[in-house]
């Protein structure tokens, strides 16, 4: 039986003899494992970030007309001219129990003026509380200024593109702009969304419902935001709302009722596919690396068949030789591990 210390000595000498090859193998495996760890945590991080953000909105139901694309924020509302909700719908919803608040959302176009320049934008009317509640979540949010308070008048929140790109001079918080010829105070500017979750806020201007009606003269409700008092009932309430509105309009598919959890589900399923895809790539990297290590060990054994023969001739058992090679493998793995930790 070979003593452990002998094994280590022989194995260490062998590794020293082939240090560049061992080093290259180590780098290969290190990259493979790093890829796994990095891509896995990327996927995990993505999921938990999205879940964390949207989880705060799980008590919210969004109602839009017809079948529209599910879009996390603000998207999918139809403009005032098309199919729309009526005050009767709002009243009908209000009769359902277990609701915290029911707020109409209005959607339309407007012309804005700043420093004598004109531009057309999409405007969105929504009550002040809902606006700060929905658009105030971390990854949307304001770049500067603040959301309106209930009761505020002639104030607006503008998208980042509206502030920085539409006019020769940028608009900042506190400036006055004209929307449909009425003066508005810029109360806040949204963060740039870019290619993020929703680009809607970049080119939009958000107003209170009252101001929206005032400048457009329009009463058509494009969407309804409802918050429930008990999140556990949200799916039942959503079904009820859908039934009430469809009944009012005599159509089967008039209302499209979306709960945050259904959005969350669809986002999660997309994210899990992405995670799986990332994992797949990382797994390939790891397989390549393992084949590399197998190759190194195999060459190590093959080029030493002669040496193995000598050791057997001077009385080594098969297990003695196996333990020498295993020790070598373990030593390489230990180097590998410490490299990984660095």
């Amino acid at each position: 039986m070979v003593l452990l210390i002998d094994n280590f000595k022989i194995a260490f000498k062998n590794i020293k003899e082939r240090k560049s090859r061992v080093f290259l193998t180590l780098i290969g495996v290190a990259i493979g494992i790093m890829a796994i760890v990095a891509l896995m945590s990327l996927g995990e991080g993505m999921q938990s970030a999205v879940e964390g953000e949207l989880a705060s909105l799980t008590d919210t139901i969004i109602v839009t007309t017809g079948s529209v694309n599910v879009n996390a924020m603000g998207g999918g509302f139809t403009e005032g001219g098309g199919a729309h909700f009526t005050q009767r719908d709002i009243d009908g919803i209000n009769r359902i129990g277990g609701l915290e608040s029911v707020n109409p959302v209005m959607f339309g176009g407007a012309i804005i003026e700043y420093n004598g320049e004109f531009h057309s934008v999409t405007i969105l009317g929504m009550d002040a509380y809902s606006m700060s509640y929905i658009f105030g979540i971390d990854f949307l949010g304001l770049q500067s200024g603040e959301f309106m308070n209930t009761g505020d008048q002639n104030k607006c929140i503008i998208g980042n593109n509206v502030a920085n790109e539409y006019f020769d001079t940028s608009i900042s918080v506190g400036n006055k702009i004209k929307i449909n010829n009425k003066n508005f105070y810029v109360n806040g500017i949204y963060k740039k969304q870019g290619a993020g979750f929703s680009t809607e806020t970049d080119d939009n201007i958000h107003l209170t419902v009252r101001d929206f009606k005032k400048i457009t003269g329009q009463e058509n409700i494009s969407g309804i935001l409802i918050r429930v008092s008990d999140v556990n009932n949200i799916e039942d309430i959503a079904d009820e709302i859908e039934f009430v509105i469809n009944e009012n309009h005599g159509e089967d598919d008039f209302a499209n009722v979306i709960t945050m959890s259904s959005i969350l589900d669809s986002i999660q399923s997309v994210l899990s596919v992405i995670s799986l895809f990332l994992l797949g790539i990382a797994a390939i990297a790891l397989v390549v690396a393992s084949i590399g290590i197998m190759n190194t060990m195999l060459t190590s054994v093959m080029e030493r068949t002669h040496e193995i023969g000598i050791m057997k001739a001077i009385g080594a058992k098969n297990t003695d030789i196996l333990s020498i090679f295993l020790t070598e493998g373990i030593l390489i793995s230990l180097f590998e591990g410490s490299l990984e930790l660095c």
Partner: protein
Amino acid sequence: MSQEDFVITAKDINKIYGRGETKVNALKKVNIEIKKGDYITIIGPSGSGKSTFMNILGCLDKPTSGKLYIENTDVSTLNENKLAKIRRKKIGFIFQKYNLIPTLTALENVTLSMSFAGVTFSERIKRAEDLLKKVDLTHRLSHKPSELSGGEQQRVAIARALSNNPSIILADEPTGNVDSRSGIKIMDILEKINNQGETVIVVTHDPNIAKRGKWTIRIHDGVVSGFAD
């Protein structure tokens, strides 16, 4: 003479390589008895089967048929681990091409075989130093094989062969790769070992070296064709 007096007894040993058309009968019905303390040389042209015979005596290879006894143990029926034990305890091998481990120093090459036999660390070092002194290599203990001359490497190999106190020393053309002066030195060492009671078997194709044995076995075409004193 009773069988107990023989360190090696070979009975009807046949060795066949390959099968069918390409079958080679390397050894044919070899019978031999070697006494303890003998100094035997095996001579024969290349391809005669002398190396095959040597490998079988050294338990590196198994005969196709026949029996081989080493100190009354029938080795033809032993498994791998038991054969390894025989090689470790009873046989010291010296090769034509030295066959030292290139990554280890002279001293470590000698201690390696003792580590397989489980000799303690301090005893190994002491014994290896003694053996290397015996073969005149005290000044080369920490040299690697590549830093030694052919003759020196072969002397390290001899020290290694002696490390586990074997009862038989098998030397396969020990002088084949060294100059004649080193060759004489090596043969002197082997003779000295034999004088101390060790059984020594040397394979050679050099008649001058063969003459140094107490008796000589001639092998031709796998047949032991004669003994000469």
